[in-house]
Amino acid sequence: MADHVCVIGAGAAGTAAAWSARRSGARVTVLDGGAGATSLASGALDRLPWEPLERAARLLAEEPIATPCDSDVTAWFEALGCWTLVAPGERLAHLCTDVGRLRCAAGRDRAVLDFARLPPRARILVPRVERADWSADALVRTLESDRESRARGFEFAVSDVAVLQSEAERRIPTLDLAARHDDVERCAWLARSLADHRRIEPFDAVLLGPWFGTDEPRAEEVSRRAGVPVGETMSPVGGAAGLRFDAARQRLLSKEAIACVPARARAVRRVDLGFIVTTDADALVACDAVVMAMGGLVGGGVVLGSPEPGLVEDEVGWRAPRFRLSFESDVALQCSGRRVDAGGSLQGPTLDASAWPTAHGFGSLEAIGVAAVGVEVAPGLLAAGDAVADRPRTMLEAVASGIRAGRAAASGA
């Protein structure tokens, strides 16, 4: 039984590990190194990459269905609040990407519109909002020609219903517009505007941009007042969905009395029966178990280290670029099943062919991570989420592995 668990990383995997370790009775400290992959979330939650899933479903002429998950995973999502999973046995959600493609998902941010829950032949309003990041006509054209929307008989209509309150709102940044909807009054105004519009033309749902709040997802409330589902398209990188996760995470961690330290790990060292984690502020965290959930390349947990700036090859301390963890430890990196070592070139790894995915598999930049068996790297040392090598890079994978890692860390197994 581990007394103190240190979780490195406060993204989906880290938060899940912290929550699960806490529930198992341990004291937990989370190191929050700043925005990682989860903060750049799009609002769609996948278990497996969705394109092969959709293609397989099409070939088999079947509907993709949500599969059950660990009860702790479901409980975590409920505790987090801003995200919702599709119930097992139900059709997967269908979300609209920021370019107008409908794609399936195992769960979503509550503010994103789920087309799978709309009635057949629904009429969906896409307001023409005069902003550079919104092109209602192009969205409608793309959505109309989508296989799923044709199958369900959806009708899309561009409309001039008022969404912005002033001329200035045409040019403010997307996140600013989203922040304005944190205000209850603003949401009430929008809901009234939409409800009034229903008297002019009928519609069954409204699709808008990722503008519904940066603190909590506001779309459900607008939907309630407007009387029809109102929701967002998926967020682009750095959009509102990521911010909403960050806010929900803060609330969850403080509710569970989990200490959250805003610092990056600089080193993880095994000592006697436990570990010492050194932060970049030179603080030391002594613990019995460590969960590494610092992310992969996207999250900043794995880096392609560059030579020290200013040093040249003949100087001591110069090292060839190589993949390594963002903190010092004796943990090995792995990619495509093979251990990553110093490599054969002074110039660093050759990424020509391997960086991006091929028809046969993931690219090296996606696959790279810590070598682990399940979630275990070594006794007392666990890994979860994108930090683990050769796992699907999806949100549900991150949460599930985080739950398992937190449990294992706390039980001292």
Binding site: S42, W50, T97, R101, L297, L351
Partner: protein
């Protein structure tokens, strides 16, 4: 007597072709700068022309050059004629397309260890100065170490001083497109995306009929012609074989050259540096990026799929870092590669090969009426084309004089008042400036679109910027049929964002213009993104790996990376499938 260069010739005194019943007088194969140059010159002189290009205009060396029409000072010692004709023709290109050119002053820094060479360079560039007036270039200057460091603080090393000289930058793809458009306006038929499958010859061996195929639609056709011009550059031997000739009659020595693109202007001036094997390379500020180039290696691979490798990238970075160390911290946003159709010679190093051009008359090989254009430089394309058309004119027994140096290319007729245009159209000044660069006076046509449909003022690619109206314009007027084609004509997606924000949207617009489904447009955008990613992967520095991983995740999430699109963009993949 010169023909008035306005509109296609419909006069009765047509050319006497070698046989009465032909569809066209000349078929030009190849849509690079030589092919489009010949098509334009021939059309201006009243010939009926058909041009076939199997990929896209400026797909080969013409669209992948260093982006300069330079006098080739390097050739001054061995091949002064090349320098003279390059400078002379550069002057003509300036006259006919002034909007396309921008000045790139060069610095040649000299380390202290080579200070004894400073007088040599001084003298050398003084000789080069003699040719500068031909292209309205400035004379060189000699700089002390202090002066050169003041001009360019980023220079490294212990310097003795240096030399400056002057060159012009140009967008090679725009040059090809403008030539092609002018040819078309004067009656030439452009078949872009169409490959010639066979050149049928009559019993005497003369080329008679060209069999062609549209690679996108599969549509086939035949054209009776009096002459065939092989202007396919590095593809020349392949094209010769289509006419039943042995490839050796149109032999070239293909020289691959790559360039590396950084996300911003890193230096005030272009800087010449030396690579580890003693070659001269340069780092040039070019429009809103920096280009590092170039290599020269014999190429034996697939000409339709030339890609830079990390080998070549590292070689260039090492060479540039010698003079300008900050390049090591630069962010590389892409690479591009082309193959030079250098004149064939066995036994010489690539750099030492001649850059002259020559026309091979295949009557010597039993195919009277077929010609191959070999070698050449971007800077002297017009002259080369004129030589070719002079031969054709003599063949058809007429007298006519080349006017391509006196007739403006489309858009080059009048200067554009960018400020006024920006105010009228209510577009921002940078957008109008870029439109004016690419289209010259024809920017008004794009602006007219915006006036009629204000929604088309939406910016599609923020890096350039490219607005929706321009995308639609190049699809309608400039034969663009895919996102990659639009990119060649507008530089969409070639900026710092790597196409992440604009490829999908561009695909939707192209699909809309062409009547395809928006989903086909998204897939086209995805293909373009993946091909850009491929050319970028070899140049990824440590700082960029994370961004690249993020880009991948974003594309997976929003567009979906499906296996077919991946296969299409992989080496050997077929971009024309589907």
């Amino acid at each position: 007597m010169t023909r008035r260069a306005s509109g296609p010739s419909t006069e009765g005194d047509a050319f006497v072709a070698s046989s009465g019943d032909v569809d066209v007088d000349v078929v030009v194969i190849g849509g690079g700068v030589n092919g489009t140059g010949v098509a334009r010159d021939a059309a201006l002189r009243g010939m009926r022309v058909a041009l076939f290009e199997r990929n896209d205009l400026a797909f080969g060396a013409s669209g992948n050059s260093s982006g300069m029409i330079h006098g080739g000072p390097r050739y001054l010692s061995q091949d002064p004629e090349v320098t003279r004709t390059s400078c002379l023709d550069s002057g003509h290109i300036q006259a006919i397309a002034p909007h396309l050119l921008f000045r790139i002053p060069f610095l040649l820094p000299l380390p202290r260890s080579k200070r004894h060479r400073l007088p040599f360079y001084d003298g050398f560039f003084e000789a080069y100065d003699r040719y500068q007036p031909l292209k309205r270039g400035r004379a060189h200057t000699r700089l002390t170490a202090d002066e050169i460091r003041r001009l360019e603080p980023g220079l490294a090393g212990d310097l003795a001083g240096g030399v400056t000289f002057d060159e012009w930058g140009i967008d090679g793809a725009r040059l090809c497109v403008l030539n092609a458009l002018d040819a078309e306006a004067r009656g030439a038929r452009l078949h872009i995306g169409c490959t010639v499958d066979r050149i049928e010859r009559d019993p005497t061996g003369r080329p008679r009929e060209v069999h062609w195929r549209d690679r996108r639609t599969g549509r086939v056709g035949r054209l009776l012609t009096a002459a065939v011009v092989n202007a396919t550059g590095a593809w020349s031997p392949i094209t010769a074989s289509l006419g039943g000739l042995p490839p050796g009659v149109a032999r070239v020595r293909p020289g691959k050259g790559i360039h590396l693109v950084c996300d911003r202007r890193l230096s005030n001036y272009a800087i010449v540096s030396e690579t580890i094997d003693g070659r001269s390379i340069f780092l040039e500020p070019w429009e809103n990026v920096t280009i590092l180039g170039t290599t020269d290696d014999d190429y034996y691979g697939d000409l339709d799929d030339v890609v830079a490798t990390s080998e070549e990238v590292r070689y260039l970075v090492e060479g540039a870092a010698r003079a300008f160390p900050a390049i090591r911290q630069a962010r590389f946003i892409g690479t591009y590669a082309g193959v030079r159709p250098t004149l064939y010679e066995y036994g010489k190093l690539e750099d030492a090969l001649s850059r002259e051009h020559t026309i091979v008359d295949h009557s010597a090989h039993g195919a009277d009426g077929m010609y191959s254009m070999m070698g050449g430089k971007l800077a002297s394309y017009r002259l080369f084309a004129a030589e070719m058309v002079d031969i054709l004119v003599r063949r058809f027994g007429r007298e006519s004089v080349c006017v391509t140096h006196r007739v403006a290319l489309p858009g080059g007729e009048t200067p554009v008042d960018e400020g006024a245009l920006a105010r009228e159209a209510r577009l921002d000044a940078v957008t109008v400036r870029r439109l004016a660069y690419r289209h010259g006076a024809r920017a008004c046509q794009v602006v007219e679109r915006v006036r009629r449909r204000p929604v088309e003022a939406h910016v599609v690619c923020a890096c350039e910027p490219v607005i929706e109206a321009e995308v639609r314009h190049v699809v309608r007027e400039e034969h663009a049929r895919s996102v990659a084609d639009v990119s060649r004509r507008t530089r969409l997606g070639l900026g710092a964002c790597g196409g992440m924000r604009c490829a999908a949207r561009c695909g939707q617009i192209v699909a809309d213009e062409g009547g395809a489904s928006p989903h086909d447009g998204l897939r086209d955008g995805l293909r373009f993104l993946l091909s850009l990613a491929r050319t970028r992967s070899c140049a990824l520095g440590p700082a960029q790996a994370r961004q690249e991983a993020l880009a991948m995740a974003s594309v997976r999430s929003q567009l979906g990376i499906d296996a077919e699109a991946l296969e299409d963009s992989a080496p050997g993949g077929d971009p024309f499938r589907g």
